[in-house]
């Protein structure tokens, strides 16, 4: 069955090359539901009672003379649960998003098949193979953006990540001559250390950790929104999947510690994660482009997961996985909502938008809920995740990380407030805009479902990740359906929910009871003179965080993406220097030939 699922995904990808948009999106949508059946079936393995479809847990597929060892593990099951549901919904969304079939569906299906493959691979070759297929299919989706920076930076970073991963895998292979991932545990010493380090570096490109994130602002802000929703929601999690796999399931932490007992490498990862969260959040606050804002927000939110992995206690890892799960859904909803806004208005700048909540109430609702989850406002599942992370940092007395996380948490609220205020509230600038098409709304609301479920039952989430944790030898923290208990405190979602409702209902009644008068924006007078209407400085989002700007930007912006441009230019200068070898004079070339001859001869005779 598993091979049939793969075959159908590939065949569907090929078919969607040739058919029209509607058929393509229908085929893609239905085909991408198939793996979800497998997920439901596999849930039986991990202590959940569900329907069985008879799909294998293990399978060896032979392609091109090599055997791919595929199989489900608790860890990959959990990550599949957060990544794979995005696909059918993105396909549903894209049904009305795209005007014609110009190469989105086939590569999206390839990306889907390869994501599924990465999660299922049990040996290095298939892991790397699917990783590369994922790289090129996502590259071709980026290629549709026609943006120079996005295309160049994505391909360069993809290749860099692929090489780093290949290097790590090759060393592991060379150390015990087995391609199976389960044989890695026996490696120690310098080679094990290099291998694990280079794997982590490779994976952190896709999970946009700070020094290696330079592609993300370009790519996230220029590609098609449905794809970006997948990129930020799904693909970035694959990087963390790889990290978790090699660090915890395959004992990477022990390999690192055995080689350098005195250096806390996990602390370094946590620091990188917290810096990533902090810097990206500060940059997100300053962005005017909605997509760039969401891009930096993704980098920041994903940094939390790295913090959790770095701290490494059961509490922190639970928090990190929880955050990963939440992020997959709320960031997908946010990007899709941004896409819906752009679909209707054609504008990306916050300063050009405004008041869309009146015209697109459902989109607003979805975005609002996602923003609650993002900003970790109590009651949403985002809060539970971040609370676990804060607590883990405090428990471990990480005095550097915990404050950075807290500031980044506040910062997340600051920029989400800008989205709400600048895009959806304020002056209604687009009175003629209609609500987003039904398929888009449906996709966003279905994506909200898991977020809502885990608001009320955060314990269920911990149940879901329990097999993955116990498989890696990490004990899961005590919890009931509603409450999570830790050594410091107890978080009971039901209590919070009831308190909130108790506070909100009277407030809502009072709000409704009052009379409202909506004044027109033109009612603004300044010293008796009517103010010029379409002056950008009159927009609610104009110079929103001006005081912060002077403090933040000079320090953070150069380091964020410009270092990549500097390296790129540096290679360019090197290249221009090297090219001078080819002087254009055939006489020089003849001299090179003679010098080469003499050098080789001399080397061979006298060495």
């Amino acid at each position: 069955m598993l091979d049939i699922i793969f075959a159908e995904l590939i065949i569907a990808a090929i078919i969607t090359f040739f058919v029209g948009k509607k058929i393509a999106s229908i085929i893609a949508g239905f085909i991408s539901i198939l793996p979800l059946f497998a997920l439901i079936d596999w849930a039986n393995n991990f202590g959940f009672k569900t329907i069985s479809f008879g799909i294998e847990r293990q399978m060896n597929i032979s392609v091109a003379g090599i055997t791919l060892h595929l199989g489900i593990t608790p860890l990959s099951w959990f990550f599949a649960l957060m990544i794979l549901p995005l696909f059918p919904l993105i396909m549903l969304y894209s049904y009305s998003f795209f005007k014609e079939n110009d190469g989105f569906y086939p590569f999206m299906l390839f990306a889907f098949a390869s994501t599924f493959g990465i999660l299922l691979s049990k040996d290095m070759l298939s892991l790397f193979l699917f990783w590369e297929i994922m790289s090129w299919s996502s590259f071709l989706l980026v290629y549709r953006s026609r943006d120079k920076e996005a295309i160049i930076s994505y391909l360069i970073f993809s290749v860099f990540s692929a090489f780093a991963i290949l290097f790590g895998l090759m060393i592991l292979w060379h150390e015990n001559f087995s391609l199976l991932l389960s044989d890695i545990g026996r490696i120690n010493g310098i080679y094990g250390f290099i291998a694990i380090a280079s794997l982590i570096i490779g994976f952190s490109v896709k999970s946009v950790l700070m020094p290696l994130h330079a592609w993300a602002p370009f790519v996230y802000s220029k590609s098609d929104e449905p794809f970006v929703a997948f990129l930020s929601g799904g693909l970035s999690k694959l990087g963390y999947y790889g990290m978790f796999l090699f660090l915890f399931t395959l004992n990477g932490v022990k390999i690192l510690q055995n080689y350098t007992p005195n250096v806390a490498w996990n602390y370094l990862l946590a620091v990188v994660g917290s810096l990533s969260a902090f810097v990206a959040t500060m940059l997100a606050i300053m962005q005017d482009d909605l997509r760039k804002l969401l891009a930096y927000s993704s980098i920041g939110q994903l940094g939390y997961i790295a913090i959790g992995f770095g701290i490494g206690t059961p509490l922190a890892i639970t928090g990190a996985l929880f955050q990963a799960f939440n992020h997959a859904f709320f960031k997908a909803v946010l990007f899709l909502a941004a896409g819906a806004v752009a679909y209707r208005t054609g504008k990306w700048k916050i300063s050009e938008l405004g008041g869309l909540a009146y015209r697109m109430p459902l989109t607003f609702l979805a975005a609002l809920f996602a923003i609650f989850a993002l900003a970790a406002i109590p009651i949403t599942s985002g809060f539970a995740a971040k609370w676990l992370l804060y607590e883990a940092a405090i428990q471990q007395k990480y005095v550097f990380i915990a404050p950075l996380m807290l500031i980044a948490g506040v910062g997340a609220f600051l920029y989400s407030f800008r989205i709400l205020y600048g895009v959806f509230l304020g002056e209604n600038r687009y009175p003629d805009v209609k609500e987003a098409p039904k398929s888009m709304i449906a996709a966003m609301f279905i994506l909200m479902l898991p977020l809502i479920i885990f608001v009320v039952f955060p314990g269920y989430m911990l149940d879901l990740m329990k097999p993955a944790l116990s498989n890696s030898g990490i004990e899961s923290i005590a919890h009931t359906k509603f409450a999570i208990e830790t050594s410091l405190a107890k978080y009971n979602s039901m209590a919070v929910l009831i308190t909130l409702i108790a506070a909100m209902v009277p407030a809502f009644i009072i709000y409704k009871a009052r009379k409202h008068r909506i004044t027109s924006f033109e009612d603004n007078y300044l010293a008796g003179e009517p103010y010029e209407f379409h002056n950008p400085s009159m927009h609610a989002a104009h110079n929103f965080y001006k005081p912060l700007k002077g403090v933040v930007l000079p320090y953070f912006e150069p380091g964020a993406t410009y270092y990549f441009e500097k390296i790129y230019k540096g290679i360019g200068i090197l290249s221009n220097g090297i090219r001078r070898i080819y002087t254009g004079f055939v006489q020089d070339y003849a001299i090179y030939v003679v010098i080469f001859l003499l050098a080789v001869m001399g080397w061979l005779i006298w060495m």
Partner: protein, 448 residues
């Protein structure tokens, strides 16, 4: 013997001589000869696939006196590759030119095929000269300033190269009195140490000029830039591949010493890095592709030079790299005829070609890099691995720029070009996917 490899050389040569007599039918005769060659090469390959190596003594003279062809799996594969691509390429571009072009094209193909099939170093020299002379003329065929200049550069360096090859052969002959490579290989230890090394250096330098090795490749950017795109395509799958194979054969059969492998490795690494770096800022598409070819030749040379320890992995890597580079680069050169690559056929040809060269699965280039890494890690060549990675990243940089730059309107290439491009580039997909490619690559009958 059922299969006569000599026909692969003889038929195009005979056809090339007939063409001036029947000028009108130049294209048809050449196409027919190449179709025959293609079919025969397929037949020969399948024969070798099931029966093993072929040695053919021409006119019944036994070596070391007689002229002698030695065909193993790799050379049969290369002969097949060259003739197959030559046919496809010729169908696409042949009609644009007169009978002289057809004739020269046939000579170039006959020469390249001869280089890979022959088991005699002097014949190798002759085939090199046939190929080179035909290539000079083909490059100059475009008749504009750049074409002539490229051809002249190639010609000067090619002449020096031929002098060095001939000197190398002369030195070997002066010691061993034989020209047959297996004969030489058997008695190489009886050679004077210094003359042995001098002859290897001369042969490496001479053939290296054709194989686009740094620093012998001064002609490459100029010739590729000046030549018409069809000829540039021919140069990238024909003579250069034959030459790199000739280096491999001479190195592995005649001079299988630690020092020679070491030199080939260093030269390959330097070629790779310099070629890719030079391409990085290049604005002219053909010149960029030419620099990129230099880099790829370096990669192939690295693969061959790793064969001293891991013959299996290294040769599989070389096999896939050659396939990938030949099919991708020759279709990209055909594509370079139009400034933009709009339209599905052109767009996906460009993309697949680029991805294969970068080494993305399931294309042939991926397997090339995978097995190259396996071979390199086995010898713990950390610096080489790092440089290969660095070169790969640089390559990604300029190919991404190329893909972005050539995005645009529907290209005005005619149908024959498009078909040829798509067919050529599909080989990198097919050979990456089909299990037969792996089996082919891991055949136990590499003839070393």
């Amino acid at each position: 013997m059922v299969v006569h490899p000599v026909l692969l050389i003889a038929i195009p040569l005979i056809a090339a001589f007939i063409i001036p007599l029947a000028k009108k039918y130049g294209f048809a005769i050449a196409a027919g000869a190449m179709a025959f060659n293609m079919g025969y090469a397929i037949g020969m390959f399948s024969y070798i696939y099931s029966h093993g190596k072929i040695y053919e003594m021409i006119a019944g003279f036994k070596p070391p006196v007689g002229i002698f062809l030695a065909v193993d799996a790799l050379s049969a594969m290369l002969a097949l590759l060259i003739n197959l691509f030559a046919f496809i390429n010729f169908i696409a571009i042949g009609k644009e030119w007169n009978y002289k072009f057809s004739m020269l094209y046939l000579l170039a193909i006959a020469g390249s095929t001869g280089i890979v099939l022959t088991g005699d170093i002097f014949n190798m020299f002759i085939f090199f000269e046939i190929t080179a002379v035909a290539s000079y003329a083909l490059i100059a065929g475009k008749k504009d300033e750049k074409a002539i200049e490229g051809a002249i550069k190639y010609m000067v360096l090619g002449s020096i190269a031929s002098i060095f090859i001939l000197m190398g052969i002369a030195l070997i002959y002066s010691q061993l009195k034989t020209l047959n490579i297996y004969d030489i290989a058997a008695r190489i230890s009886s050679m004077d140490e210094k003359i042995k090394w001098a002859s290897f250096a001369l042969l490496l330098t001479g053939i290296g000029v054709e194989a686009e090795i740094f620093p012998l490749n001064g002609w490459v950017p100029a010739a590729y830039q000046g030549a018409s795109s069809g000829v540039a395509s021919l140069l990238s799958f024909g003579p250069s591949k034959a030459a790199i194979y000739a280096i491999a054969r001479i190195m592995m059969v005649i001079f299988p010493f630690h020092a020679t492998y070491e030199i080939a490795l260093y030269v390959g690494v330097v070629t790779l890095v310099i070629g890719e770096l030079a391409a990085f800022m290049q604005e002219d598409v053909k010149r960029m592709l030419a620099y990129s070819s230099i880099g790829q030749m370096g990669l192939i040379l690295i693969a061959f030079s790793l064969a001293s320890q891991n013959i299996q992995n290294a040769l599989i890597a070389a096999f896939f790299l050659i396939i990938s580079h030949a099919s991708a680069k020759s279709s990209l050169f055909l594509l370079s005829r139009s400034p933009s690559m709009g339209g599905a056929a052109c767009k996906y040809t460009g993309i697949v070609g680029v991805l294969s060269i970068i080494g993305m699965p399931p294309l042939a280039g991926f397997w090339g890099k995978w097995y190259l890494m396996l071979a390199a890690i086995n010898e713990k060549l950390w610096l080489v691995i790092m440089l290969v990675f660095f070169a790969g990243i640089v390559e990604a940089g300029y190919f991404a720029r190329y893909l972005h730059k050539s995005m645009g309107n529907e290209s005005k290439l005619n149908l024959r070009y498009k078909v040829a491009m798509v067919v050529m580039v599909s080989f990198t997909i097919l050979l990456g996917l089909l299990p037969i490619a792996y089996k082919m690559a891991s055949l136990p009958l590499w003839g070393w």
